[in-house]
Symmetry: C2
Subunit: 363 residues, 2 copies
């Protein structure tokens, strides 16, 4: 059933999205600012569930691409947010009917709200990942042979590009170097889909889920309950570690925020490796969880999600693991987003510690 | 008056274009191969002079962009040559009526012939520079406020992009990083112009001039005359130096073939600095000629032009200087293509040694 996003929902939604963003997807505070501004200027946004989308809808994803370390310093204008959607609509020669989130994350769940408000279009209660991943081909639609291109990108200066590539990895490669040249952060719109394709390929109910997670964090705080435990219960995950951040190495290279953080617990040390998003959680050399399952960093007491670019020495945090959409555990999906893709010579480990076969290797 | 390019003209044209290409624009032999193949498959190409172009013509430039060191190893197919023109025609929503050369150079004067043949379009007897320059904004149309964008680029894999940028330098910046990512050599088409704009902004008669230069080199050889002196006379230039190549430093970086060559003469040494094209000729610390005037390297006896990527130890060469289109000596033009732009702290030196004021500095 369709519902309406108004200004009052934004803070819960952005906070919940930052939880599912596994450290990536950009700063939820900045994302909330932008969506709030758009809703004030253009009115509420209608959110439609996947079962309601007409079969012949023209759905485009909208996202910010780049290094979160840069995104936090370059809040886009509404014109910049709508530019790639408008450019792509012109390129397609068909009116765009719906906007969708490519991923769930602090900025990347709220920017599509801003785009939908400014364009007067409905938004899908869905996204392409059910979490955040660093590269643009890393969405479930890629597994359904839905092409990223034509994909449009735009910057704050007014530059626009449209790509039509031979596969989604090439869209990523060309858009990424353009993004770096344009200042390490651009707006993108792509993955043109029919309603039927969106129904099949997207993760249903993502935005509702974000609002619910955000609400429950606030309710737990009001109830003097444990917000972290509330999130663990909601996601069906488990707490992996609790401790204090003692070291963060971070570099913005080739358009990504890459790094490693060490968290000291009472008896052991956890190492988190990230590329925009957390990829590997390792306790004293023992792997606890790897991509594609969710590795989520929360402030110890308040349960406030902490993005990778906001990790700082001295923060007291808790780290939880949670299951990803099950489709990420298929062989082609693990080849695309498993630890091996990111250069780690490891089999995928689920949030509960189960070790999976490496893609292309018999179990 | 319009004329026809047939297979028999190609070798003269390519050789003449390599002379005016000042070391850049790609290998004339490769350019000739591609044009010959296209003319055999699709028939002769009509070349129309600027005064004949209808005022409302839709003219696009066609060129290969990238490092000549890579171009020589990646001869494009005819499909690749026509792809950006077709993509741009679709993007513009208007039929393209004429093709033009962006620059004069071994490959970049023959690729537009191949494109015109394959597309069945007439080619203008004109180009955007009257020589070759390394970056795509460095054309006279930029001085007439003609935008490079929309500009399309394509590679041998089938990837295509269309850029719409805020200025021509941004077209260069984004297309250049895409070009490097796509393998350091792509086909481009852009600078949409009306017939009236083409008439005003392009260099007239370039292709006729290339054919004439190529013919005169062959005639001089047949007459046992001096081909180099013949070229000097044709271009109204002067011989700067004669000697043997004793050192070539060359690196393909950020999408360009950059380097320096030293030529030993009887009493002194000449240093040539290049970025795809020759930029500075300096004899024992004394500047002889700089960009935008033409610095042309020819084989000592045959007058065969030698491109920068073909310079080798031991070659006996002669270097000549020749005047560029006079519009390159205006203040905005010198800011765009003078020695200062390329990082040399020098005033521009004309081919005859005259020193000009630096752009923005009183003489």
């Amino acid at each position: 059933m369709s519902w309406t996003i108004s200004e009052n929902d934004i803070s819960d939604l952005a906070r919940g999205a930052a939880v599912l963003g596994t450290g990536g997807g950009g700063d939820p505070y900045i994302g909330a600012l932008l969506a709030t501004q758009a809703l004030r200027a253009h009115g509420d946004v209608t959110v439609v569930t996947l079962d309601e989308v007409p079969a012949d809808a023209v759905v485009l994803t909208v996202a910010m691409m780049g290094a979160p370390t840069v995104m936090v310093e370059k809040l886009p204008s509404l014109d910049e947010v709508t530019a790639p959607v408008l450019a792509l609509g012109t390129y397609l020669g068909r009116p765009v009917t719906h906007v969708a989130c490519a991923e769930i994350g602090g900025v990347n769940s709220t920017i599509p709200i801003a785009a939908a408000a400014a364009l007067g279009l409905p938004l899908l209660d869905a996204d392409g990942m059910g979490r955040a991943f660093p590269e643009l081909q890393m969405v479930l639609p890629t597994l359904y042979d839905i092409t990223a291109s034509p994909l449009a990108f735009s910057d704050e200066k007014g530059n626009i590009g449209v790509l039509q590539t031979v596969d989604n990895k090439w869209t990523e490669r060309i858009a990424r170097v353009a993004c770096v040249e344009m200042g390490c952060s651009v707006m993108i719109s792509g993955f043109p889909m029919s309603g039927d394709q969106a129904r099949e390929a997207l993760v249903p109910g993502s935005l509702s889920r974000c609002v619910e997670i955000g609400k429950q964090i606030m309710l737990a705080r009001e109830d003097k309950a444990d917000p972290v435990q509330r999130i663990v219960d909601l996601l069906g995950g488990r707490e992996l570690f609790a401790g204090k951040v003692i070291d963060v190495q971070r570099a913005t290279t080739t358009g990504f925020a890459r790094g490693r953080a060490r968290i000291e617990g009472p008896d052991s040390t956890l190492t988190l490796s990230f590329q925009n998003e957390h990829l590997i959680a390792e306790e004293d050399g023992r792997i606890l969880t790897t991509t594609p399952d969710l590795i989520i960093v929360l402030e110890h007491d308040s349960g406030e999600p902490i993005t990778t670019e906001a990790l700082r020495y001295g923060q007291r945090i808790r780290v939880i693991g949670a299951p990803s959409d099950e489709r990420w555990h298929t062989v082609p999906a693990l080849a695309m987003v498993g630890p091996g893709y990111f250069g780690y010579d490891l089999p995928p480990h689920r949030f509960d510690g189960t070790i999976e076969a490496r893609p292309g290797v018999a179990a």
